[in-house]
Protein backbone atom coordinates (compact mmCIF):
# COMPACT_ATOMS: atom_id res chain seq x y z
CA UNK A 1 0.00 0.00 0.00
CA UNK A 2 2.81 2.34 1.02
CA UNK A 3 4.71 1.63 -2.18
CA UNK A 4 1.61 2.36 -4.29
CA UNK A 5 1.11 5.68 -2.53
CA UNK A 6 4.74 6.64 -3.08
CA UNK A 7 4.38 5.81 -6.80
CA UNK A 8 1.20 7.85 -7.01
CA UNK A 9 2.83 10.75 -5.20
CA UNK A 10 5.85 10.65 -7.49
CA UNK A 11 3.68 10.50 -10.59
CA UNK A 12 1.60 13.46 -9.44
CA UNK A 13 4.75 15.45 -8.68
CA UNK A 14 6.14 14.71 -12.15
CA UNK A 15 2.86 15.77 -13.76
CA UNK A 16 2.83 18.96 -11.68
CA UNK A 17 6.43 19.81 -12.56
CA UNK A 18 5.76 19.16 -16.26
CA UNK A 19 2.69 21.41 -16.10
CA UNK A 20 4.66 24.19 -14.43
CA UNK A 21 7.48 23.77 -16.96
CA UNK A 22 4.93 24.02 -19.79
CA UNK A 23 3.67 27.33 -18.35
CA UNK A 24 7.23 28.64 -18.08
CA UNK A 25 8.02 27.47 -21.62
CA UNK A 26 4.86 29.14 -22.95
CA UNK A 27 5.69 32.40 -21.20
CA UNK A 28 9.21 32.30 -22.65
CA UNK A 29 7.90 31.38 -26.09
CA UNK A 30 5.55 34.36 -26.03
CA UNK A 31 8.59 36.47 -25.05
CA UNK A 32 6.86 37.75 -21.91
CA UNK A 33 8.34 35.73 -19.03
CA UNK A 34 7.35 38.42 -16.51
CA UNK A 35 3.71 37.27 -16.79
CA UNK A 36 4.65 34.40 -14.49
CA UNK A 37 4.90 36.92 -11.65
CA UNK A 38 1.33 38.23 -12.08
CA UNK A 39 -0.74 36.95 -9.18
CA UNK A 40 -4.01 38.39 -10.47
CA UNK A 41 -4.57 40.91 -7.72
CA UNK A 42 -6.93 42.84 -10.04
CA UNK A 43 -5.32 46.20 -9.18
CA UNK A 44 -5.01 46.97 -12.90
CA UNK A 45 -8.62 46.07 -13.73
CA UNK A 46 -10.25 49.35 -12.88
CA UNK A 47 -7.47 51.61 -14.17
CA UNK A 48 -8.36 51.50 -17.88
CA UNK A 49 -10.73 54.12 -19.21
CA UNK A 50 -11.48 51.86 -22.17
CA UNK A 51 -12.57 49.16 -19.74
CA UNK A 52 -9.86 46.80 -21.00
CA UNK A 53 -8.96 44.12 -18.48
CA UNK A 54 -5.14 44.12 -18.63
CA UNK A 55 -5.12 40.73 -16.97
CA UNK A 56 -6.44 39.43 -20.27
CA UNK A 57 -3.13 40.39 -21.88
CA UNK A 58 -1.36 38.38 -19.20
CA UNK A 59 -3.62 35.42 -19.94
CA UNK A 60 -2.95 35.79 -23.67
CA UNK A 61 0.80 35.72 -23.03
CA UNK A 62 0.52 32.74 -20.69
CA UNK A 63 -1.55 30.89 -23.27
CA UNK A 64 0.66 32.09 -26.12
CA UNK A 65 -2.55 32.92 -27.97
CA UNK A 66 -3.48 36.46 -29.09
CA UNK A 67 -7.00 35.28 -29.96
CA UNK A 68 -8.05 34.87 -26.32
CA UNK A 69 -11.22 36.90 -25.65
CA UNK A 70 -10.76 39.52 -22.96
CA UNK A 71 -12.96 42.23 -21.46
CA UNK A 72 -12.94 45.64 -23.15
CA UNK A 73 -16.10 47.23 -21.86
CA UNK A 74 -15.83 50.84 -22.97
CA UNK A 75 -14.55 51.04 -26.55
CA UNK A 76 -17.10 52.91 -28.62
CA UNK A 77 -17.10 52.23 -32.35
CA UNK A 78 -19.45 51.83 -35.29
CA UNK A 79 -21.15 48.44 -35.52
CA UNK A 80 -19.94 47.99 -39.11
CA UNK A 81 -16.34 48.47 -37.98
CA UNK A 82 -16.80 46.09 -35.05
CA UNK A 83 -18.15 43.44 -37.44
CA UNK A 84 -15.30 44.08 -39.88
CA UNK A 85 -12.68 43.60 -37.15
CA UNK A 86 -14.25 40.47 -35.68
CA UNK A 87 -17.87 39.40 -36.26
CA UNK A 88 -17.72 37.31 -33.08
CA UNK A 89 -16.70 40.28 -30.95
CA UNK A 90 -19.26 40.75 -28.14
CA UNK A 91 -20.76 44.23 -28.11
CA UNK A 92 -23.41 45.98 -26.08
CA UNK A 93 -26.08 47.03 -28.56
CA UNK A 94 -29.67 47.99 -27.80
CA UNK A 95 -29.05 47.05 -24.17
CA UNK A 96 -28.04 43.49 -25.07
CA UNK A 97 -24.69 41.76 -25.14
CA UNK A 98 -24.49 40.05 -28.50
CA UNK A 99 -21.90 39.32 -31.16
CA UNK A 100 -21.39 42.03 -33.77
CA UNK A 101 -22.71 39.59 -36.38
CA UNK A 102 -25.88 38.91 -34.40
CA UNK A 103 -26.42 42.63 -33.84
CA UNK A 104 -26.41 43.15 -37.60
CA UNK A 105 -28.22 40.01 -38.76
CA UNK A 106 -30.61 39.21 -35.93
CA UNK A 107 -31.26 42.51 -34.16
CA UNK A 108 -31.08 44.42 -37.48
CA UNK A 109 -29.23 47.33 -35.91
CA UNK A 110 -27.99 49.90 -38.41
CA UNK A 111 -24.28 49.40 -39.28
CA UNK A 112 -23.64 53.09 -38.61
CA UNK A 113 -24.85 52.79 -35.00
CA UNK A 114 -22.26 53.36 -32.32
CA UNK A 115 -21.90 50.33 -30.06
CA UNK A 116 -19.76 49.65 -27.03
CA UNK A 117 -17.53 46.60 -26.98
CA UNK A 118 -17.75 44.03 -24.20
CA UNK A 119 -15.41 41.14 -25.05
CA UNK A 120 -12.82 41.26 -27.81
CA UNK A 121 -9.76 39.28 -28.81
CA UNK A 122 -6.58 40.26 -26.97
CA UNK A 123 -4.90 41.39 -30.22
CA UNK A 124 -7.84 43.69 -31.02
CA UNK A 125 -7.92 45.04 -27.47
CA UNK A 126 -4.23 45.85 -27.88
CA UNK A 127 -5.14 47.74 -31.05
CA UNK A 128 -7.77 49.79 -29.22
CA UNK A 129 -5.46 50.44 -26.26
CA UNK A 130 -4.21 54.01 -25.89
CA UNK A 131 -0.95 52.77 -24.34
CA UNK A 132 -1.35 55.45 -21.68
CA UNK A 133 0.35 53.17 -19.16
CA UNK A 134 -2.40 53.47 -16.51
CA UNK A 135 -2.41 49.69 -16.06
CA UNK A 136 1.35 49.61 -15.56
CA UNK A 137 1.11 52.38 -12.96
CA UNK A 138 -1.67 50.50 -11.16
CA UNK A 139 0.30 47.22 -11.11
CA UNK A 140 1.70 46.68 -7.62
CA UNK A 141 4.59 44.68 -9.10
CA UNK A 142 5.26 47.22 -11.86
CA UNK A 143 4.93 44.53 -14.53
CA UNK A 144 5.64 45.84 -18.08
CA UNK A 145 2.17 45.31 -19.53
CA UNK A 146 2.87 47.75 -22.39
CA UNK A 147 5.45 45.33 -23.78
CA UNK A 148 2.82 42.66 -24.28
CA UNK A 149 0.43 45.24 -25.73
CA UNK A 150 3.09 46.47 -28.17
CA UNK A 151 3.89 42.91 -29.16
CA UNK A 152 0.23 42.07 -29.76
CA UNK A 153 -0.21 45.23 -31.83
CA UNK A 154 2.93 44.58 -33.83
CA UNK A 155 2.15 40.98 -34.61
CA UNK A 156 -1.35 41.33 -35.92
CA UNK A 157 -2.46 44.93 -36.27
CA UNK A 158 -6.20 45.51 -36.31
CA UNK A 159 -8.06 47.24 -39.11
CA UNK A 160 -6.15 50.45 -39.77
CA UNK A 161 -9.33 52.48 -39.57
CA UNK A 162 -9.80 51.65 -35.92
CA UNK A 163 -6.21 51.16 -34.91
CA UNK A 164 -5.24 53.73 -32.38
CA UNK A 165 -1.66 54.01 -33.55
CA UNK A 166 -1.84 57.76 -33.53
Amino acid sequence: MKRTLIKLNTTMMVVLVLFLLAIVANALASRQPWVLFCYKCKACNSSCILGIDPQGFVDAALAGDPHVYIYATNVKLQLSKAAAIDPDMIVTAAGKKVSARAALDELHISPATEVVTYQVQARHAAGFCFRCGACERACVLGLPLLREISQLRGKEPVDASVSHDQ
Binding site: R31, I49, T73, R131, A134, R147
Partner: protein
Amino acid sequence: MQVCLMISKSALKVSLILLGLTVAAFIVQKSFREEFPGNYPKFARPVDANFEFFNRQVRIAVPDELNDFRVFVFAHDSRGHMQAIIKQVVDGTIEVREGDYADIDVRFDGSQVAGFEILKRMDNYTRETDMFNALKEARVNGRQAGIQRCLYPLCTRCIEGCRSVISGGDLPLEMHRGPDGAIQPVYSKGKCPRCGKCFVWCPVNVITNTKSLLGK
Protein backbone atom coordinates in the same frame (compact mmCIF):
# COMPACT_ATOMS: atom_id res chain seq x y z
CA MET B 1 28.72 14.93 5.31
CA GLN B 2 26.99 12.88 2.63
CA VAL B 3 23.69 14.64 3.32
CA CYS B 4 25.39 18.05 2.97
CA LEU B 5 26.87 16.97 -0.35
CA MET B 6 23.48 15.80 -1.61
CA ILE B 7 21.85 19.10 -0.61
CA SER B 8 24.59 21.18 -2.23
CA LYS B 9 24.26 19.17 -5.46
CA SER B 10 20.51 19.73 -5.52
CA ALA B 11 21.00 23.43 -4.73
CA LEU B 12 23.48 23.69 -7.58
CA LYS B 13 21.02 22.07 -10.00
CA VAL B 14 18.18 24.37 -8.93
CA SER B 15 20.50 27.41 -9.16
CA LEU B 16 21.57 26.40 -12.67
CA ILE B 17 17.93 25.99 -13.77
CA LEU B 18 17.03 29.41 -12.33
CA LEU B 19 20.09 31.00 -13.94
CA GLY B 20 19.17 29.42 -17.28
CA LEU B 21 15.62 30.74 -17.01
CA THR B 22 16.85 34.23 -16.09
CA VAL B 23 19.22 34.33 -19.06
CA ALA B 24 16.45 33.09 -21.36
CA ALA B 25 14.10 35.74 -19.97
CA PHE B 26 16.65 38.50 -20.67
CA ILE B 27 17.29 37.22 -24.19
CA VAL B 28 13.61 37.02 -25.19
CA GLN B 29 12.95 40.53 -23.88
CA LYS B 30 15.96 42.14 -25.53
CA SER B 31 13.96 43.37 -28.52
CA PHE B 32 11.73 45.54 -26.30
CA ARG B 33 14.52 48.01 -25.59
CA GLU B 34 13.43 51.52 -26.59
CA GLU B 35 15.52 54.17 -28.29
CA PHE B 36 15.14 57.87 -27.59
CA PRO B 37 16.43 60.36 -30.17
CA GLY B 38 18.06 63.35 -28.48
CA ASN B 39 15.90 66.02 -30.08
CA TYR B 40 13.56 68.72 -28.83
CA PRO B 41 9.83 68.00 -28.77
CA LYS B 42 7.09 69.92 -30.55
CA PHE B 43 3.48 70.19 -29.50
CA ALA B 44 0.20 69.91 -31.41
CA ARG B 45 -2.07 72.94 -31.44
CA PRO B 46 -5.35 72.83 -29.49
CA VAL B 47 -8.16 71.34 -31.56
CA ASP B 48 -10.55 73.71 -33.34
CA ALA B 49 -14.02 72.29 -32.97
CA ASN B 50 -17.39 73.47 -34.23
CA PHE B 51 -20.35 72.43 -32.06
CA GLU B 52 -23.78 72.02 -33.59
CA PHE B 53 -26.62 71.31 -31.14
CA PHE B 54 -29.68 69.27 -32.10
CA ASN B 55 -32.63 68.02 -30.02
CA ARG B 56 -31.01 64.84 -28.79
CA GLN B 57 -27.42 65.05 -29.95
CA VAL B 58 -24.46 67.32 -30.46
CA ARG B 59 -22.48 67.09 -33.68
CA ILE B 60 -18.91 68.31 -33.41
CA ALA B 61 -16.89 69.02 -36.54
CA VAL B 62 -13.15 68.63 -36.13
CA PRO B 63 -10.25 68.78 -38.61
CA ASP B 64 -10.01 65.74 -40.90
CA GLU B 65 -6.48 65.05 -39.67
CA LEU B 66 -8.10 63.68 -36.50
CA ASN B 67 -10.08 61.01 -38.34
CA ASP B 68 -10.11 57.69 -36.47
CA PHE B 69 -8.47 59.26 -33.43
CA ARG B 70 -10.12 58.90 -30.04
CA VAL B 71 -10.33 62.20 -28.21
CA PHE B 72 -11.88 63.64 -25.08
CA VAL B 73 -15.08 65.65 -25.52
CA PHE B 74 -15.25 67.75 -22.36
CA ALA B 75 -17.50 70.22 -20.57
CA HIS B 76 -16.84 72.09 -17.34
CA ASP B 77 -19.62 71.98 -14.74
CA SER B 78 -20.80 74.38 -12.03
CA ARG B 79 -18.30 72.91 -9.51
CA GLY B 80 -15.41 73.70 -11.83
CA HIS B 81 -14.92 70.00 -12.61
CA MET B 82 -14.31 68.78 -16.13
CA GLN B 83 -16.57 65.97 -17.34
CA ALA B 84 -15.24 64.15 -20.38
CA ILE B 85 -16.16 61.26 -22.65
CA ILE B 86 -13.89 59.43 -25.06
CA LYS B 87 -15.20 59.48 -28.60
CA GLN B 88 -13.83 58.37 -31.93
CA VAL B 89 -13.68 60.82 -34.80
CA VAL B 90 -15.54 59.43 -37.83
CA ASP B 91 -15.41 61.39 -41.10
CA GLY B 92 -14.28 64.53 -39.31
CA THR B 93 -17.26 64.40 -36.95
CA ILE B 94 -17.93 63.39 -33.38
CA GLU B 95 -21.48 62.75 -32.21
CA VAL B 96 -22.49 62.92 -28.56
CA ARG B 97 -26.01 61.63 -28.04
CA GLU B 98 -28.40 61.81 -25.16
CA GLY B 99 -27.56 58.89 -22.88
CA ASP B 100 -23.81 59.00 -23.57
CA TYR B 101 -22.31 59.10 -20.09
CA ALA B 102 -19.05 60.80 -19.12
CA ASP B 103 -16.04 58.51 -18.72
CA ILE B 104 -13.98 60.72 -16.44
CA ASP B 105 -14.40 63.53 -13.90
CA VAL B 106 -11.40 65.83 -13.40
CA ARG B 107 -10.94 68.21 -10.44
CA PHE B 108 -8.76 71.30 -10.64
CA ASP B 109 -6.75 73.36 -8.22
CA GLY B 110 -6.31 76.61 -10.12
CA SER B 111 -5.11 75.65 -13.56
CA GLN B 112 -3.57 72.39 -12.40
CA VAL B 113 -5.23 69.01 -12.07
CA ALA B 114 -5.98 68.10 -8.45
CA GLY B 115 -7.36 64.63 -9.15
CA PHE B 116 -9.61 62.59 -11.34
CA GLU B 117 -12.04 59.71 -11.21
CA ILE B 118 -12.81 57.15 -13.90
CA LEU B 119 -16.60 56.89 -13.93
CA LYS B 120 -17.00 53.56 -15.71
CA ARG B 121 -15.64 50.55 -13.83
CA MET B 122 -15.74 47.51 -16.08
CA ASP B 123 -19.41 47.39 -17.13
CA ASN B 124 -20.95 49.81 -14.63
CA TYR B 125 -20.94 53.57 -14.21
CA THR B 126 -20.18 54.72 -10.67
CA ARG B 127 -21.93 57.97 -11.54
CA GLU B 128 -24.02 58.71 -14.61
CA THR B 129 -23.38 62.16 -16.05
CA ASP B 130 -25.10 62.68 -19.36
CA MET B 131 -22.54 64.32 -21.63
CA PHE B 132 -25.18 65.72 -23.97
CA ASN B 133 -26.76 67.60 -21.05
CA ALA B 134 -23.33 68.61 -19.72
CA LEU B 135 -22.41 70.12 -23.10
CA LYS B 136 -25.78 71.85 -23.38
CA GLU B 137 -25.52 73.32 -19.87
CA ALA B 138 -21.96 74.48 -20.51
CA ARG B 139 -23.16 76.33 -23.62
CA VAL B 140 -26.16 77.91 -21.87
CA ASN B 141 -24.10 79.02 -18.87
CA GLY B 142 -21.07 80.17 -20.85
CA ARG B 143 -18.79 77.50 -19.40
CA GLN B 144 -15.92 75.91 -21.27
CA ALA B 145 -16.46 72.89 -23.48
CA GLY B 146 -14.47 71.44 -26.33
CA ILE B 147 -12.14 68.74 -27.57
CA GLN B 148 -8.98 67.60 -25.85
CA ARG B 149 -6.56 65.45 -27.78
CA CYS B 150 -4.07 64.94 -24.92
CA LEU B 151 -5.12 62.13 -22.57
CA TYR B 152 -3.84 63.83 -19.41
CA PRO B 153 -4.58 63.20 -16.51
CA LEU B 154 -5.31 59.64 -17.55
CA CYS B 155 -1.99 59.35 -19.35
CA THR B 156 1.08 60.86 -17.71
CA ARG B 157 3.76 59.21 -19.80
CA CYS B 158 5.48 62.43 -20.92
CA ILE B 159 5.71 63.67 -17.34
CA GLU B 160 7.00 60.26 -16.24
CA GLY B 161 9.66 60.50 -18.96
CA CYS B 162 10.67 63.92 -17.69
CA ARG B 163 10.76 62.74 -14.08
CA SER B 164 12.94 59.78 -15.01
CA VAL B 165 15.77 62.08 -16.12
CA ILE B 166 15.26 65.22 -14.00
CA SER B 167 15.46 65.14 -10.24
CA GLY B 168 13.34 67.58 -8.26
CA GLY B 169 10.10 69.16 -9.30
CA ASP B 170 11.37 71.74 -11.79
CA LEU B 171 10.29 69.92 -14.94
CA PRO B 172 10.39 71.40 -18.44
CA LEU B 173 6.96 69.93 -19.07
CA GLU B 174 3.88 70.70 -17.01
CA MET B 175 0.19 70.22 -17.61
CA HIS B 176 -2.16 73.17 -17.26
CA ARG B 177 -5.75 73.94 -18.09
CA GLY B 178 -5.55 76.23 -21.11
CA PRO B 179 -7.74 79.22 -21.91
CA ASP B 180 -10.09 76.95 -23.91
CA GLY B 181 -10.60 74.70 -20.86
CA ALA B 182 -8.61 71.77 -22.27
CA ILE B 183 -5.57 70.42 -20.46
CA GLN B 184 -2.45 70.92 -22.50
CA PRO B 185 1.32 70.64 -22.05
CA VAL B 186 3.23 73.80 -21.13
CA TYR B 187 6.83 73.49 -22.21
CA SER B 188 9.93 75.34 -21.12
CA LYS B 189 12.63 74.74 -23.72
CA GLY B 190 15.43 76.12 -21.55
CA LYS B 191 14.96 73.35 -19.00
CA CYS B 192 14.63 70.54 -21.55
CA PRO B 193 17.52 68.02 -21.56
CA ARG B 194 16.41 66.63 -24.97
CA CYS B 195 15.98 63.12 -23.62
CA GLY B 196 13.31 62.38 -26.23
CA LYS B 197 11.15 60.35 -23.86
CA CYS B 198 8.11 62.62 -24.06
CA PHE B 199 7.59 62.29 -27.81
CA VAL B 200 8.57 58.62 -27.96
CA TRP B 201 6.13 57.78 -25.20
CA CYS B 202 3.26 60.14 -26.14
CA PRO B 203 0.56 57.71 -27.37
CA VAL B 204 -1.58 60.31 -29.14
CA ASN B 205 1.03 62.32 -31.04
CA VAL B 206 0.32 65.53 -29.15
CA ILE B 207 4.07 65.63 -28.56
CA THR B 208 6.20 64.77 -31.57
CA ASN B 209 9.84 64.84 -32.58
CA THR B 210 11.16 68.09 -34.12
CA LYS B 211 13.97 65.94 -35.58
CA SER B 212 16.17 68.89 -34.80
CA LEU B 213 18.83 69.48 -32.18
CA LEU B 214 17.80 73.15 -32.19
CA GLY B 215 14.10 72.44 -31.78
CA LYS B 216 12.99 74.33 -34.88
